[in-house]
C-alpha cells in the first residue's frame, strides 16, 4: 500500500475512533472528553498501522504493548479496540456501568486488549519499562508504547522512569506525551508549567521529537524514526488540542471531565459523522 493511501485510511480510522468515542461518552452524559479527543490520531496510527497486535489473539506473546498511562483516556482506547474487533461494539455501553467491563480508567483485567492497568498518574511509565525489559528478557523483539499526559508529567515517578529508561538504553520503549496544554484544574502554564518538554526529555538522554499530534502522517513518521533508534528510548511530544474535534469541549478551560447535554453531544456527533464521511470520500477517491 502506498503511503498516501495508508494515511487516508488512518484518517478515516481516526475520525471513526473520534465518532465512536463521542457516542460512547454520549451514552452516559459525562466523562473525560478532553483527554480522549486529543489522543485519537495517535491511537489511529498505532492500531491501524504501527502497533503489532491481533484482535483474534489478544494474548499473543510477541505483540507490541500499549500502556495508556493517562488512564482517563480509556474511552478513546475502548473505541479503538472495539473498532479493531477486540470486543463487540455493544460492549461500549458498559462504560462506567456498575459491574461492567469498561471502567473510567483502563483495567487490564476487565477489558480485552488493555495491556496494563492505569489511572493513578505517573505509574504507567514504570510498568511500561517493566513490560519492555520483560520482553527483552524473553527475547521478544517488540515495542512497548506508552502514552503520558502533559499534566501527568508533574508526577515525580515519571522522571524516575525517564532516567531509568535512558540508563538502560531501552530503545524498544516509545513514549507519547499528549501535550494538550491543559490539565484538570486549567492550563498547564498556570497550574504547573513544565517548560519545554522536548528539551527536558532530550536532557535526560532520550531521542525526542515534537510533531502535530493531529496529523497522522507526522505521527507515523515520528514512530518510524523512533523504531530505528535502538540505543535510546524515544519521546514523541504530540502537539495537540484538548477536546479536539468536539465543539463543546475544544477551547474550554474546564474540559478534563465534563457533563454535557444530549443536544451538545448530538451536535458534536452530527459534525463528526460528516467529518468521517469526508474522510471516507477522500480515501475512496484516491
Amino acid at each position: 500500500m502506498d503511503l498516501e493511501k495508508e494515511l487516508l485510511d488512518i484518517k478515516v480510522a481516526a475520525e471513526n475512533i473520534r465518532l465512536v468515542t463521542l457516542e460512547t461518552l454520549g451514552n452516559i452524559g459525562f466523562g473525560h472528553v478532553g483527554g480522549a479527543m486529543s489522543i485519537v490520531e495517535a491511537l489511529a496510527v498505532l492500531y491501524y498501522s504501527e502497533l503489532e497486535c491481533d484482535p483474534k489473539r489478544p494474548d499473543w506473546a510477541q505483540r507490541d504493548r500499549l500502556v495508556m498511562s493517562k488512564g482517563h483516556a480509556g474511552p478513546a482506547l475502548y473505541a479503538t479496540l472495539s473498532l479493531k474487533g477486540f470486543f463487540p461494539k455493544e460492549m461500549l455501553l458498559e462504560l462506567n456501568q456498575g459491574g461492567g467491563r469498561l471502567p473510567s480508567h483502563c483495567d487490564m483485567n476487565k477489558t480485552i486488549g488493555v495491556d496494563m492497568t492505569t489511572g493513578s498518574l505517573g505509574q504507567g511509565i514504570s510498568s511500561a519499562i517493566g513490560l519492555a525489559m520483560g520482553a527483552r528478557l524473553n527475547s521478544i523483539e517488540n515495542y512497548t508504547y506508552l502514552v503520558l499526559g502533559d499534566g501527568e508529567c508533574n508526577e515525580g515517578q515519571v522522571w524516575e522512569g525517564v532516567i531509568f529508561a535512558a540508563h538502560q538504553k531501552l530503545g524498544s520503549l516509545i513514549t507519547f506525551v499528549d501535550w494538550n496544554k491543559q490539565q484538570l484544574d486549567g492550563f498547564t502554564k498556570d497550574i504547573m508549567d513544565m517548560g519545554n518538554l522536548e528539551e527536558k526529555f532530550k536532557a535526560f538522554g532520550w531521542h525526542t521529537v515534537t510533531v502535530d499530534g493531529h496529523d497522522p502522517g507526522k505521527i507515523k513518521a515520528a514512530i518510524q524514526e523512533a523504531k530505528a533508534i535502538k540505543d535510546k528510548p524515544s519521546a514523541i511530544i504530540l502537539d495537540t488540542i484538548k477536546g479536539y474535534g468536539c465543539d463543546f469541549a475544544q477551547g474550554v478551560e474546564a474540559n478534563h471531565h465534563m457533563n454535557f447535554t444530549k443536544e451538545q453531544m448530538d451536535e458534536a456527533i452530527d459534525k463528526q459523522v460528516r467529518k468521517l464521511e469526508e474522510a471516507r470520500k477522500a480515501a475512496q477517491e484516491r
Binding site: D115, T117, S126, S127, E160
Partner: protein, 321 residues
C-alpha cells in the same frame, strides 16, 4: 511440618546471606526469577546474585516507586520479580505503586522489606519501620509475612517462586535467633503453635518469637502455662487459630516489633472480636516513632522484651473473667 530447637541461639548465617543463596539456587532452575534493588544491593547482601545473573538483576537506583512499577510490568511478561529495599521504603514510600500497579492490576510481585522495627538500629527513626505491615494490611488480597528465621526464610522464598500474587516479606537482614530446625516446612496463612499452654496464648512474630519463648519459661516458673504461637503470616491472619487460642486459653497477648495500631495486635484483635471475644494485651510499639540506638537499647526503650511479655501475660491472666 516444623520442629523447634531445644535451645535458642543466634543462627550462624545472616538472613541476607541465606536469602541470596536461596534465590541464587532457585534462579538456576527458574529463568523467570528477576531481582530488583534500589541502591541497596550491598545492604541486602545480593551482590553475589547480581554477579551471577546480571541480566536478571536490575539496579533501579534510589527510585523505589519506579522499581515497584517495573516489577509489575515484568510480572505482566511472566517474570517473577523480587524487589528489595528497607522496610520503610518498600512499604510506605511505595504504597500506591503496590496498591495499583501490583495488587489492583493482579500482578505477581514479591516485595522484601528489610530491617523491621528496632533492627534498623543506628539508621534511626527515618529508617525504622513500625508501620510497614500496617500501611500494607489494608491493600486487598496482599499477603504479609514476617520471616522468623533463616530456616523459614529458605522455605517461604522457595514457595513464593511457585505461587501467584502480591507478597510482602518483612525480614531482618542480619543474625536472628534460630527457632526452627533444618527441614521444617511452613504453611502460609497458618500460625505455628510452638508450645502448648492453658492459661494464656502469646501470639508473636519476628524477633518477638524468641522473646515469647523466654517469657514462657519465666511464666512457667511462676505457675502460668502459656501457649506460644508464631503468627508469621499477618495477612491473611489465621483466624481459626486465634479463635482456638481465645477459646482454649481465655486470654491473649500479642507481641510484635511494630506499631500495635495496624499491626499484629490489630489483626489478632479483629479476629478475636469476630469469634470468641477475650481480653487482648498488646506488647509492641505504642504509637511511637523510631530513634537511633543499638537494638538492645531500642528493645528496652519500646518494651519489646520477654519481661514486658511476662507482665502483659500476668495482666491478661489476672483480668480473665
Amino acid at each position: 511440618m516444623f520442629t523447634v530447637h531445644e535451645r535458642f541461639e543466634k543462627a550462624p548465617k545472616m538472613m541476607r546471606e541465606v536469602y541470596c543463596e536461596t534465590l541464587s539456587e532457585l534462579a538456576l532452575e527458574n529463568e523467570n526469577i528477576v531481582v530488583l534493588d534500589a541502591d541497596l544491593v550491598s545492604s541486602s547482601g545480593m551482590k553475589p546474585f547480581f554477579k551471577a545473573f546480571p541480566e536478571r538483576a536490575i539496579q533501579c537506583g534510589v527510585a523505589e516507586a519506579n522499581m515497584i512499577g517495573i516489577a509489575a510490568g515484568l510480572s505482566c511478561m511472566g517474570k517473577i520479580p523480587f524487589a528489595h529495599s528497607f522496610g520503610c521504603f518498600a512499604s510506605r514510600r511505595v504504597c500506591d505503586q503496590i496498591m495499583i500497579s501490583a495488587a489492583y492490576a493482579q500482578q505477581n510481585v514479591r516485595i522484601i522489606g528489610t530491617d523491621p522495627g528496632v533492627t534498623a538500629a543506628y539508621n534511626g527513626g527515618t529508617h525504622m519501620p513500625f508501620e510497614d505491615m500496617g500501611v500494607l494490611r489494608s491493600i486487598p488480597e496482599i499477603t504479609l509475612i514476617e520471616l522468623t528465621d533463616t530456616v523459614m526464610l529458605r522455605d517461604i522464598v522457595t514457595q513464593l517462586t511457585k505461587s501467584y500474587g502480591v507478597y510482602y516479606l518483612r525480614m531482618a537482614r542480619k543474625n536472628v535467633t534460630a527457632i526452627y530446625c533444618e527441614g521444617s516446612r511452613f504453611e502460609i496463612g497458618k500460625g505455628n503453635v510452638l508450645a502448648d499452654g492453658r492459661d494464656v496464648s502469646i501470639i508473636a512474630s519476628g524477633i518477638m518469637v524468641a522473646e515469647s519463648l523466654k517469657a514462657m519459661e519465666i511464666l512457667k516458673s511462676e505457675g502460668i502455662s502459656a501457649r506460644i504461637v508464631d503468627m508469621f503470616t499477618w495477612k491473611p491472619i489465621d483466624a481459626q487459630l486465634v479463635a482456638d487460642c481465645a477459646r482454649e486459653t481465655g486470654a491473649i497477648v500479642t507481641a510484635e516489633n511494630h506499631n500495635v495500631i495496624g499491626g499484629l495486635g490489630s489483626a489478632v484483635s479483629e479476629a478475636v472480636v469476630q469469634s470468641c471475644p477475650v481480653l487482648v494485651e498488646m506488647v509492641g510499639v505504642k504509637d511511637k516513632f523510631g530513634q537511633v540506638g543499638t537494638e538492645d537499647f531500642l528493645r528496652k526503650a519500646y518494651d519489646l522484651t520477654a519481661e514486658a511479655i511476662v507482665a502483659a501475660a500476668k495482666r491478661a491472666v489476672g483480668r480473665k473473667g
